[in-house]
């Protein structure tokens, strides 16, 4: 009951925080309550501006190393989030992706800098940058399974609170700037899938049983809806907005 009460308390408080700094402090206390020392919450991007967030209390020396050596783009934990929708222990990362030498080095250096075992909750929201909330114990400390269920909920509620703050008017995004994802028609999506698979308008026309000119018009209409100039940008936007999945494009 104790950890569930911690989760309830956190969820209520997270819903009411008014600033990222408040959320940061709340999260630092909550992770200690359930048995962790460190946390890092954020979108998986290098450039932080506007609607994105990155907060945490990892050891400063480690964060300086991450910045100096540009480890973010190779961080094995963040990369593992791309292959898992479920929360995972860091010890399971080698089972989720095959580690490069640089990634093995990153894990080793993180441990030397004081970060022990950890648990990460990936956050995948269609139409938005991927993100995560990670929790870690001190190097050398044992991470049991006991706090993981509570960590899953705290990660989810903390991420939603951060989203709410950075998307609120005070957080830099006015209501009128709300992003509305353009909707493509089913036929437009069919055409975009084939473009993404490298098909010409003629090939797509044959596969869909329509004329090449109609395929062209569908693609042009889709480009207009997204406000993009090229077919490459169109494919990237539809993948990013989750209107297409990589499985639609890449056949294994």
């Amino acid at each position: 009951m104790g950890q569930f009460r911690d989760v309830q308390t956190f969820a209520r408080a997270a819903n009411e925080v008014c600033t990222i700094e408040e959320l940061s402090g709340l999260l630092a206390s909550a992770v200690r309550e359930i048995g962790f020392e460190y946390y890092a919450l954020g979108h998986h991007v290098n450039v932080v501006k506007g609607k994105l967030v990155q907060i945490g209390n990892y050891p400063e020396a480690w964060m300086a190393t991450v910045r100096a050596r540009e480890y973010i783009s190779d961080d094995p934990v963040l990369m593992a989030c791309q292959t898992s929708v479920a929360g995972f222990r860091w010890s399971a990362v080698p089972t989720l992706l095959s580690l490069s030498k640089r990634q093995e080095q990153i894990l080793l250096e993180a441990s030397r800098a004081g970060l022990g075992d950890g648990f990460t909750v990936p956050v995948h929201i269609p139409g938005e940058c991927a993100g995560s909330c990670s929790f870690a114990v001190r190097a050398g400390a044992l991470l049991s399974d006991a706090p993981l269920p509570a960590a899953q909920y705290i990660g989810c509620f903390a991420f939603e609170a951060a989203r709410r703050l950075v998307r609120s008017p005070a957080g830099g995004m006015r209501a009128r700037e709300r992003v509305v994802t353009p909707a493509l028609t089913s036929r437009q999506l069919d055409c975009v899938v084939l473009v993404a698979r490298g098909k010409s308008d003629g090939d797509a026309a044959q596969l869909l049983g329509i004329s090449a000119e109609t395929v062209h018009q569908h693609i042009e209409a889709a480009k207009r809806r997204f406000g993009v100039a090229t077919r490459t940008q169109l494919v990237v936007r539809t993948l990013f907005d989750n209107q297409l999945a990589f499985q639609d494009v890449i056949r294994r």
Partner: protein
Amino acid sequence: MAPGAFGSIISPAKAGYLIVVHIVDAANRPLFYPELDRMHCDRARTFGGSDRCKSHGADVIPDIDSFDAADTIYLLESDRRTRRHLASIRLLPTTRPHMLTTVYAHLCEAAVPRDADIWEVSRCCVSPDVPLQDQSRLRTQLRIAIAEFGVFQGIRHYISVTPIHLLPELMASGWDAKPLGLPQMIAGASVGALLFTPTSRALREARDRLACQMSVLEFSAGRAT
């Protein structure tokens, strides 16, 4: 490949890309027998054992449990032309037997909330035949339909056993969530019992996502509720 064979199974509607969501209940159930049969098969392929999931259509043992009664309410999306089931969810009032109390009570730390204005959402299913690029849209439409049904029926909260990895997306869509207990591993997935409250933001954001400002629910003739 035959011309058109690649095309989506969802026919693009003339007036946009919206599939209406039907409310199926005791009164109009006979109008939806083909869709409901396909729904139970799709549910078997989605929730059933791996062997059953490999089968298609009539080879599948339909997924029907004690909560699928003659008067159970479903929100159902179907292809009007082929009568094919595309996506659906089941709605059960918590004043009557429902899954969280009967099957998953161990997911709740305290008593399961039960009231006339609290309903359970279960068996959310998108047909495995629906192309991946269409699945997200159908789920979003179902979420709009659930919120609209709540407004229509005076439902304030929904309870549900939810895979935890879907929670960020649900909250981002404007559904306030309150956990009823800690998540547990069931059938290889981390799931939790949650109480959801649809907000006006939920409807607005879901509709923004689909560029649709009208109701997705279709009120068929002959419906009881």
